[in-house]
């Protein structure tokens, strides 16, 4: 889906549920209401494949405003601090941006869906609690400033799953010493999927759905014949050559048709998630 700015990701899920008459609709990672761009929805049996695409990296474009810190780390929050940004040199900015490329431990925003002692951080934050979610490892694979019209930095970034771009904006501001928040965000890619191929929520039809095989495109594949297909769709294991170190899920196909995701245990290939019909 090409989500517009405004609705929550869950609103979009609801629209698609109604449009397709299908209860099972999930997504591969939310977009904040103010953000727009690619929201990947999984429909019907494909929802069961969603965990396999959970590690897909995500690419964003957006704008960071320097000098203003907000409690949500984006433009919807209340301003909690301002600081001058005029003394920041292009060299300083380049160094700070450089320093964020690669792995770092990132603290999710106070207003985020991470859980603290079993309760969503944003619920606690809304009650006025001081919320400090635990930092967690993320990776900023690509980060570049497309245009620096200070105090606004237009950027492009590819980040690991689980990265909060709002936190990245906040952390860049903190390192520059002036604070910052995110004023615009657009997601352009999730794994192999591109915003250019997305459809508007109100335009969704069954025909717009992609083959669920895209969700397992990064897995080793096994082709099976007709007889083996019969076994796999009924969840029965296939006998295969043992391999010493089998720890990756394997996508089982009959021709172009994705049948299941399987796991190899000894000399058995055991279907774990079956998506094809009898």
């Amino acid at each position: 889906m090409a989500k517009p700015a405004g609705p929550t990701s869950h609103d979009v899920v609801d629209i698609v549920r109604r449009a397709l008459g299908e209860q099972r609709v999930g997504h591969l990672g939310t977009l904040d209401p103010f953000a727009k761009g690619l929201l990947v929805l999984v429909v019907g049996r494909a929802t069961r494949l969603a965990p396999f695409a959970a590690d897909w990296p995500k690419t964003y474009e957006g704008v960071i405003r320097l000098g203003v810190t907000t409690d949500t780390d984006d433009l919807t929050g209340a301003v909690v601090a301002t600081a001058p940004w005029t003394a920041i040199t292009p060299g300083q900015l380049a160094d700070v941006i450089d320093s964020f490329r690669g792995a770092y431990d990132q603290r999710p925003p106070a207003y985020s869906a991470v859980k603290i002692e079993g309760e969503r951080a944003y619920r606690r934050a809304r009650r006025g609690e001081v919320v400090n979610p635990e930092p967690r490892p993320v990776e900023i694979r690509e980060l570049e400033i497309v245009e620096a019209a200070v105090p606004d930095l237009q950027f492009r970034a590819t980040v690991s799953a689980g990265t909060y771009v709002r936190s990245l904006a906040r952390d860049i501001g903190a390192k520059l010493g002036c604070g910052a928040h995110l004023t615009a965000l657009r997601r352009t890619a999730v794994g192999p999927l591109r915003l250019a191929d997305a459809v508007a929520p109100e335009a969704v039809t069954q025909a717009a759905l992609q083959d669920a095989a895209v969700l397992v495109g990064h897995m080793p594949r096994r082709q099976v014949d007709k007889k083996e297909r019969e076994a796999v769709v009924h969840g029965r294991p296939l006998r295969v050559d043992p391999i010493a170190d089998s720890r990756y899920p394997i996508a089982v196909f009959a021709g172009d048709e994705l049948l299941a995701v399987a796991e190899q245990v000894g000399d058995l290939l055991k279907p774990r998630v079956v998506v094809a019909d009898d």
């Binding site: 897909w56 990776e139 080793p220 096994r222 014949d225 391999i243 010493a244």
Partner: protein, 313 residues
């Protein structure tokens, strides 16, 4: 005393895109600091010594590593015999040995590397040893395919299940085997499909499932050769030749022996004794028994068309 060097070491099975990133960092640093670039790998695979039951079959045998290592620009390729004595070295002793015997000034490690007894030599420990013994350490991140780190294990899984397309994507080149051409029964010629027979593959080499494959073949020792009979043959110079390979038993002829037999397109010469490099491109079908010679020949013709179509894509 060895020439001062940037060193990396490990099993490097497959020399896949993740390994290539490590080697690129080695050569980059070596150039920058005017040091030698050294790759130390082990033979046999450490697990074959430490825990033979868990030792995987290999993507690249030692002799198959040379070409990709050279292509990566590494100057010195060391095959360290992985003896029980080496297996007993702790990480500290091992690192000292790298400094003393291989002139290590800088060490480049993959993100998931562990070495020394019990793989205790992880990144943190090495950074401590680096401070004590004053060498530099660089850690190279995983190369990922849609978030998934590329690893030898991942590629072995793909090959073992016949997924040569994914294997090639993660290796950065096609999966291949190197072998010598030996004399076969010559039956192919009698049915109009001449083939070359490869020596029986090394038991340590991971083969994809038996079947018929579209392949590409490079003749490694090329040039004019004089055959025993005295006739002169000219083999094409390291050009990739298209072909199809039957891998496995040959049930039509009642033989159970596993064999690699390649029919080369657009080539009709003798290659006995030559070393060839065979790349698996795509699995076309299972090995089957045919009721008659005619049925076999008809199927082989269909295979040839399918293989040519695959290779021309």
């Amino acid at each position: 005393m060895a020439q001062p060097a940037v060193v990396t070491m490990g099993t490097f099975d497959g020399l896949h895109r993740g390994h290539q990133a490590v080697l690129a960092e080695v050569t980059r640093r070596a150039r920058a600091a005017k040091l030698a670039s050294v790759l130390i790998t082990f033979d046999p695979h450490p697990l074959a010594v430490v825990n033979p039951a868990a030792a995987p079959k290999l993507l690249t045998l030692p002799a198959e590593k040379e070409a990709p290592v050279q292509a990566a620009g590494i100057e010195r390729f060391v095959l360290m015999p992985f003896t029980p004595e080496v297996a007993q070295l702790d990480a500290e002793a091992f690192v000292r040995r790298l400094c003393d015997e291989y002139g290590m000034r800088e060490l480049v490690m993959g993100y998931d590397h562990g070495f020394g007894r019990g793989r205790a030599g992880d990144v943190e420990l090495v950074q401590r040893l680096a401070r004590e013994q004053s060498f530099a350490v660089a850690v190279v991140d995983a190369v990922r395919d849609n978030g998934q780190p590329i690893s030898s294990t991942l590629i072995r899984t793909a090959v073992a299940h016949g997924d040569l397309e994914s294997a090639a994507r993660w290796l950065g080149r096609r999966y291949s085997i190197r072998g010598t051409v030996v004399r076969g029964a010559g039956r192919g010629r009698t049915i109009g499909i001449p083939t070359i027979n490869l020596e029986a593959p090394d038991a340590r080499k991971l083969l994809p499932p038996d079947g018929v494959y579209a392949v590409q073949v490079r003749i490694l020792e090329s040039g004019a050769r004089i055959l025993e009979s005295g006739s002169r043959i000219q083999t094409p110079d390291s050009k990739l030749l298209g072909g199809m390979m039957n891998q496995g038993a040959r049930p039509t002829f009642g033989e159970q022996a596993r064999a690699l037999e390649v029919h080369l397109f657009d080539f009709d010469g003798e290659l006995y004794g030559e070393t060839v490099h065979v790349e698996w491109v795509r699995r076309l079908r299972d090995v089957q028994a045919f009721p008659s010679r005619e049925a076999l020949v008809a199927q082989l013709e269909r295979d040839r068309q399918a293989a040519r179509a695959t290779l021309n894509r």
